[in-house]
Symmetry: C2
Subunit: 415 residues, 2 copies
Amino acid sequence: MIFIVAEILNVGTEILLGNITNSNAAFLSQQLAGIGVSVFRHTSVGDNHKRLKCAIEHAFENADVVITTGGLGPTQDDITKSVAAEFFGLKLEMHEESRQRILERFAGRELPESVERNALVPQGAKVFPNENGSAPGICIESGGKILIMLPGPPHELQPLFLNYAAAFLREKTEGVFVSRTLKIIGIGETAVESQLRDLIDAQTNPTIAPYAKVGEVHIRITASAADETAAHTLLSPVADEIYRRLNPRIYGENEVSLAEVVLELLKTQNHTLAVAESCTGGLVSSDLISVPGSSVVFREGFVTYSNEAKTARLFVPESLLAAHGAVSAEVAAAMAEGAAKAANATVAISITGIAGPDGGTQEKPVGLVYVGLFVAGRGMLTEKFNFTGNRNEIRRRSAISALDLLRKKIDMDIG
Amino acid sequence: MIFIVAEILNVGTEILLGNITNSNAAFLSQQLAGIGVSVFRHTSVGDNHKRLKCAIEHAFENADVVITTGGLGPTQDDITKSVAAEFFGLKLEMHEESRQRILERFAGRELPESVERNALVPQGAKVFPNENGSAPGICIESGGKILIMLPGPPHELQPLFLNYAAAFLREKTEGVFVSRTLKIIGIGETAVESQLRDLIDAQTNPTIAPYAKVGEVHIRITASAADETAAHTLLSPVADEIYRRLNPRIYGENEVSLAEVVLELLKTQNHTLAVAESCTGGLVSSDLISVPGSSVVFREGFVTYSNEAKTARLFVPESLLAAHGAVSAEVAAAMAEGAAKAANATVAISITGIAGPDGGTQEKPVGLVYVGLFVAGRGMLTEKFNFTGNRNEIRRRSAISALDLLRKKIDMDIG
């Protein structure tokens, strides 16, 4: 196998000012790992000629490939192309096809004076046409060095990488990296690590790496091999062993979201869903509706933050609220049952809790959350949590826990 | 004024694999700009002794201050402290106060064997106590160089920076940078730039920089001066001129969110609010409830994705749905009016639209969204949008537009 080493070089003063979070570096790193390119450094510099040139020189001391992001626009701040041309001793020249493409993009609109500068390209460079903006991607290959320049906006950069740069780089490598990410809820990173300690300590190929997210832990298993089939053959036994140890806490793999898993589960069983939310305030409904096609399953959401709404919409008796308080297992149960009834759904989940920062008491502290699950013909279940974190972390953890309760318990006899 | 130059050095193989997005670099950059520290580079390297040492050496070629993030944990992957100690020629020694703090954190729980390693600190270093984790922040000042090491998890890093590192650095600088960020909705970045072109071209101090966000544009004005008052004196006339040109599209400044502005406006006018959502599916309710204290104003949210729910909950006549379709100005109006009535609120907003990727037609394409505003005793208003972007960008733009319609029109005679 030939491994290629890459550096990602992000160009833009707005990155150094903290005005944008550098999501391009993470996107490119993930993609590069998948095609057998090993990323050894990320560097971000401002729109400064001298510093950018130093950074390119420094990068090629170790890297076979340098991928730049940003600085390809038409203004005088956008210097990536001219610095790169200087580094390779090339002149910039008008790329007629890119110029025509820009003129078409602006057909019928006033063409900003400077915009044709987007079509200037170092002589002899490969050009990756940009369907989503004016600046094309550019690739210079010279003297054993490869420099790929991509525009900064993610919706331009991502298709340019996926449609052009990836294929170009794939031809330069032999072998592949293949990853599987197992997604876990209901157990912390430290506990996951200690359950997998022997596997992690023994890792060579595949490698095993756990990562903590808000309310979740992801375990990424990565194998390198000559081809995808061989990589998957290496991955399978390790993944199987992790499933054996951590099931049923693993809800899915790779890009799948918990909301997608839950919707698919409900759809398969011909269920319909209602959601009753207090402290999460629409977060669970929004997670579900973010999935295309969710309308097949999702009946209705109730954001019943006030006691009045819980009573009016979900038939939660005032006496129950008075006796136990809105944040209680009893009210969580009544909310779920009421939501199913009101929306004429077969399944309902409910969330009631204290997200803070105010409203906590000794008896019911900030972070106390009850979630409820009602399944028609089966019964009712509630679960109690004590979450840590700020208001929105508590809300996020509550939303995840409610969806996960549904995922784990819908098939069980909970009557 | 003495300006300090800093490099941010992120340590962690998970960054280079793209498993996490490096939000720490953006957070630290923003904070450093605010205290007169100029960031000239971000670098991310893996958990590799040699490369980290090279990166520290390379950073101090230009920087007075290097801030590292990550690699402070107790495992053998966590090498930042030992590499830093080696760079400065210092030994690691047990920091008793930090050790006690860790023992207290784990009181009653099993103490992982390695966790005491978190309390090892290069001799003579300043220690910043960590309230949210086991690894303290560490600051080494030696030979005109300052190295600040912070743990990687943002909820540990941020308070350590704000409570300790910022004060330490502020003493080293003279002069301040002060920024105001004006937040704008309803006009694109290009249009903002062209309306402010002369101001942007003439900028020296303060500087003016526009940034595009999903559905919003932010303009950051930054002045450097001897003290805060002097900086604000420089900022005011520029901000005033931008307000003159872009009002009423500027909804707020700095950290304030649109949801906070809307809630404050409603509270001041003693209004109560109901929200009826179709394609946004709880996003607007969730934005509002993410603000502490929102319960004073927020009555109830209705996630009425289906026609049945629109009729049952919001009294939208079936005949209206049949005549105009769910995505129409008429239904948006009926949803808002029905939500106010059902929740007994004085104000209601509604959203109905086609978020895609499916469900679009020639007549009603993906991205078509209607928002409605009802104000008791005043009347009803709807607005039509054609948004671009993927499903969740369309949902986000829809949510913002509904809140912004309320912000702009609640005071007007819309009857």
